[in-house]
């Protein structure tokens, strides 16, 4: 009797787990078909030299990676097989025969992506949160604003690029600035600030970061708004009765309750900003020099222009590693914050 009972219980458990698994099966199937194979191909190509069409794809080991990271070590002996090459690199790594050039184009571009992300995290999310708070209360015209703030994400990058280039233009015609920002600065008497915004290496990246934040804040706004809606109004009322000030209510009630949404928005901002490239392409194409180059533009150029597929794939893998490291750090931070 008890044996039968046990059997039945384990059968139920198995059935329970199976039906639970069925819920993720469609997602996993599609994922397996359309992602796994391209992923392994990418990884495979990252260890090879290939121009996309050549019949031979010679194995070059970690050469692509060491080129990207600008690791300077003695190269493996000519004619070394791939495992000999790997051994050589490992030895260099262990014996300190490996130096690291932080000025390389690649690390510059990663830094640029960090910078854009940082600006987006602070500027874009603060703006989105503020506006969401404003539109969450009973303010006149809030329905109107809710519509308006979603215009930038909807607009085509073509339009955004054209309009912002026109705004940031530095040239003059008939003694007048035709860039909107310069014209404005000139009119209000701030002539000394007039600049060729996108071609000046000091301002180019910041301009892109600001336009990127402007284009993306609508997303944060929508999600914060959705999150704020789920907070029970009665809690606020109760706190008010207890005599809590608005700052205290904000820090002690709104922020903790919004924490999960904030984390999601932060993750999405990081992913979106680290991989942003369309704006860069339409505004500066990575120039002047390498000053607005981000990892994705470099990867794309390696693929479409210089036709270094293996190299591009290796960059993709490296960049993925950077992003994973970032999100692991973020996860750690989140769990620590939850404990506090």
């Amino acid at each position: 009797m008890s044996k039968l009972h046990f059997k039945r219980r384990s059968w139920y458990e198995f059935r329970d787990k199976l039906t639970s698994f069925l819920f993720i099966l469609p997602a996993v199937t599609i994922f397996a078909v359309f992602y796994i194979y391209p992923f392994f191909e990418t990884f495979n190509l990252s260890l090879r030299a290939w121009n996309g069409i050549n019949l031979s794809r010679p194995f070059v080991g970690v050469q692509n990676f060491s080129d990207i990271l600008s690791l300077t070590a003695s190269s493996p002996a000519a004619g070394a097989s791939w495992w000999q090459a790997i051994l050589h690199w490992l030895k260099a790594l262990l014996t300190g025969g490996l130096s690291f050039n932080a000025d390389s184009v690649w690390w510059q571009s990663v830094w640029h992506a960090f910078y854009i992300t940082l600006v987006a995290l602070i500027f874009q999310n603060a703006l989105a949160f503020m506006l969401a708070m404003a539109c969450d209360r009973d303010i006149r015209g809030k329905n109107f604003y809710r519509l308006i703030f979603f215009i930038p994400p909807v607009l085509s990058e073509v339009v955004v690029g054209l309009v912002w280039k026109w705004i940031l233009e530095g040239g003059m015609q008939n003694g007048q600035h035709y860039g909107v920002l310069n014209y404005f600065l000139n009119t209000v008497g701030l002539q000394h600030l007039v600049n060729d915004w996108l071609s000046d290496p000091k301002t180019a990246l910041t301009c892109i970061a600001v336009v990127h934040s402007w284009k993306g804040f609508g997303w944060g706004f929508v999600m914060f708004l959705a999150g704020l809606q789920t907070i029970d109004r009665e809690l606020y009322e109760a706190a008010k009765v207890d005599g809590a000030g608005s700052w205290r209510m904000f820090w002690n009630m709104t922020v903790p309750m919004m924490l999960p949404v904030i984390v999601v928005v932060v993750i999405l901002t990081i992913l979106g900003s680290m991989q942003a490239f369309v704006l860069v392409l339409s505004m500066t194409d990575g120039g002047p020099g390498y000053h607005t180059e981000v990892p994705v533009t470099i990867i794309l150029r390696a693929m479409t222009r210089t036709k270094e597929y293996g190299y591009a794939c290796a960059m993709g893998v490296t960049f993925g590693a950077v992003l994973i490291a970032m999100s692991v750090a973020l996860k750690k931070m989140e769990s620590r914050m939850k404990k506090v």
Binding site: T29, I53, Q63, S199, G289
Partner: protein, 432 residues
């Protein structure tokens, strides 16, 4: 409900994985993949005419923008699903790999028929980029592998009104005259020179025009081979041209981050007096500002040592799929497309220079001026050697940093040479 949904989904997959029959090949339909948005309508019109004449349907499929088109062709080659006719937009070494992989038909036998009648009807330079000579460094069998649809070249244009206003009688022929003219233009508050130099290939064109002028083809090839370093005084001179232009305020503001489209807009809206642009600009300027009065000129030469060469060649080219069952029909169609009557139609509709020299019909004045330069054009695809792509990138990016005053010509030369040395070493290692 749960299980039913999943079962049907799985069934769906099962059906798909079992493989669907692929589309049967129509015996009389030639499929063409192309990227030329501006020529699509004209091509479709000609295809309809061809169908009426021969009963063969030609199906032009447009995939834009060209970067994505190029990816599509590469992916399709790997998947063995290339259409009957397509175009290869990449540099010559990649084109060579297409040929060596057996994707592209050699058209030389057809070009040679009737004493080379077809070949002779086309501009020599238009065929140059797809011609592989007997002993080429790419290891491709001798032949001609593409049919040019039209030709193009890149020169300079000048605004007649501004030059007159600045008291410059004739468009400058030497670089010194160009500097003087620019000074005069700056005095009357006109930005002298604009070009879309956010686009690296366009900076490269301008720089190589002068490399040809200063050191000639042989020395450039020697540099590519690795025998002459980029720190050579002649190359420094090339880099210095950009410094001179930046120091003398010749460049319009923002050239290093301007796309060619925006630079065209600046010239058309009379915000700059000179521009460096391709022959397609005639059509562009006409659309933006029909009243613009401008002329075409050679880039002003800086030295008398060697002739200054301009960039040019085939505008758009088609290749025939070697493995296509309709190969012969496809070649016949391309032959028809480049014959005089069709070239006249194409050039009238698209305002591009025709590749058929007999079809230089009534072209607009400025376009005809561009056409005159066709004999002095050169292109990296004509040369026996090709520079490494990463070196090229460092070279052009370096020119940008000279123009924003960030680095000196000497520093850039050293940067480029460093990359060159590394790439040479890498190439040697790979060859072993």
């Amino acid at each position: 409900m749960n299980n039913r949904c999943l079962t049907s989904l799985l069934l769906c997959f099962a059906v798909l994985f079992s493989g669907c029959s692929s589309a049967p090949k129509e015996p009389n339909t030639i499929t063409v993949w192309h990227w030329m948005t501006d020529r699509h309508d004209a091509l479709v019109k000609l295809a309809e005419q061809y169908r009426l004449e021969t009963g063969i349907t030609v199906n032009f499929q447009l995939f834009a923008p060209s970067d994505i088109y190029s990816q599509k062709v590469i992916a399709a080659a790997q998947a063995r699903i290339l259409p009957d006719i397509f175009g290869v937009l990449d540099k010559k070494s990649v084109f060579a790999d297409f040929i060596k992989s057996g994707f592209v038909a050699n058209l030389k036998p057809v070009f040679d028929e009737n004493n080379g009648e077809w070949e002779k009807s086309l501009f020599e330079k238009a065929l140059e980029s797809s011609r592989f000579s007997a002993d080429n460094s790419y290891g491709v069998a001798e032949g001609i592998y593409a049919v040019p649809l039209d030709v193009t070249n890149i020169q300079m244009v000048y605004n007649k009104k501004f030059l007159e206003k600045a008291g410059v009688a004739n468009p400058p022929e030497t670089f010194e005259e160009f500097l003087k003219a620019s000074e005069a233009l700056n005095k009357i508050g006109v930005a002298p020179f604009v070009s879309g130099w956010a686009e690296l290939w366009l900076v490269d064109c301008f720089a190589l025009n002068y490399a040809f002028n200063i050191m000639g083809m042989d020395k450039i090839m020697a540099t590519y081979r690795g025998d002459v370093p980029y720190t050579d005084p002649d190359w420094i001179k090339v880099f210095e041209i950009f410094k001179i232009m930046a120091d003398n305020n010749i460049l319009a503001s923002g050239v290093v981050t301007k796309s060619n489209k925006l630079a065209e807009q600046d010239f058309a809206l009379e915000r700059a007096a000179f521009a460096f642009n391709g022959s397609w600009c005639v059509n562009v300027y006409k659309g933006m500002n029909p009243d613009l009065e401008y002329g075409v000129m050679f880039p002003p030469k800086i030295s008398d040592a060697y002739p200054l060469m301009i960039w040019g060649g085939a505008g758009g080219s088609f290749v025939v799929n070697e493995t296509s069952p309709l190969k012969d029909k496809a070649i016949l169609f391309l032959k028809w497309l480049t014959s005089k009557e069709q070239q006249v139609v194409l050039s009238e509709e698209t305002r591009n220079l025709p590749s058929n020299r007999n079809a230089l019909a009534e072209l607009p004045k400025e376009l005809a001026e561009f056409g005159l330069g066709m004999d002095e054009v050169t292109h990296s695809a004509f040369w026996p050697l090709e520079e490494d792509a990463l070196v090229k990138e460092k070279f052009t990016k370096g020119l940008q940093s000279i123009m924003i005053g960030e680095r000196t010509p000497q520093e850039v030369a050293e940067d480029v040479q460093t990359v060159k040395a590394r790439q040479m070493e890498r190439a040697i290692r790979r060859a072993q």
